[in-house]
Symmetry: C2
Subunit: 154 residues, 2 copies
DNA sequence: TTACCTGCAAACTATTTGCAGTACT
DNA sequence: AGTACTGCAAATAGTTTGCAGGTAA
């Protein structure tokens, strides 16, 4: 996932800001601290990781507020949540980074991203056959990477 | 998913039985009660649902044993577990019913199954590109069905 | 000023674990 | 007979909720 330039970040920040305004929600510093931390990271993280990262920077935002803010960021499509099979949800920023799926090594939990247009085609076909309006999908492939230093290597 | 004939069921039951024997695990009545209930149902259920179904038939098996037995049934490929985004896992029987994916209505939670060979092709390509040995995948499509009586219809 | 928001801790939900007694093999 | 298994209840993990202040608008 690419890193954003400062001015792009400013634009994305205002997407969040506008969303809050439109919904008559408050622009609290905590919400923007969560936003900043999310958009400073370019990986997949869980809610607690985000909480810890903030704490490490001596930014004190409660866990409850982290969850609340992630929820809002998901509502305005700046964050997506994934359920990779473990019990805790993983999040990632998603501004202009819609369609991609995940490949996960079950030995070292490394996550790779891929994108294949055939998935879109399958989606359209399934949509037609079942007469569904499909809004999104979730595809993960699991297996074993072949890195030499992968722990518990298969 | 098809229902099984009594003699097929007997064969599948012996797959479980043989598995337990090979692993030096005990053939307890509780384990077979769980097996029977799983193979009597042709839908997607969670652990608690199975527990309740057994209870309704006055078959008393503890929740802990339900989880334990489902784990064993997964080990011998008679059951698969799915994480559909909600926090509780869904299970379904999987004897000779390997490759299929799921389409889920977010309004009524109805689950449909589909199968598309292109997914296999994508899997092979991803496997090659990332040098992974892919063991399995998990694909769900989410959306809105168009049934008239779908609650909270979109 | 006035709700909405935050932080805290308690509640909750799904699942796992520890332990004493039970029952396969 | 011996040890794995069961049921129960308590522990755990991730997330949500209730409530008493705090604060954006």
């Amino acid at each position: 996932m690419p890193q954003f330039l400062p001015e792009q970040l400013e634009d994305i920040r205002s997407v969040f800001s506008d969303f809050l305004k439109k919904k008559n929600l408050r622009q609290t510093p905590e919400r923007f601290k969560v936003f900043d931390e999310v958009y400073a990271s370019d990986d997949h993280f869980d809610a607690d990781e985000l909480f810890v990262r903030l704490k490490a920077k001596e930014i004190n935002v409660s866990r409850a507020t982290v969850y609340n803010s992630l929820e809002l960021l998901m509502e305005c499509n700046l964050v997506v949540r994934h359920q990779f099979g473990n019990k805790q949800a993983k999040y990632e920023r998603s501004f202009r980074y819609w369609q991609h799926d995940h490949l996960i090594c079950e030995d070292c939990n490394e996550i790779h991203e891929f994108c294949d247009p055939r998935i879109q085609a399958i989606q359209e076909m399934v949509s037609e056959i079942f007469e569904f309006e499909i809004t999104h999908h979730s595809l993960q492939m699991f297996g074993h990477c072949r890195r030499d230093n992968c722990p518990n290597r298969h």
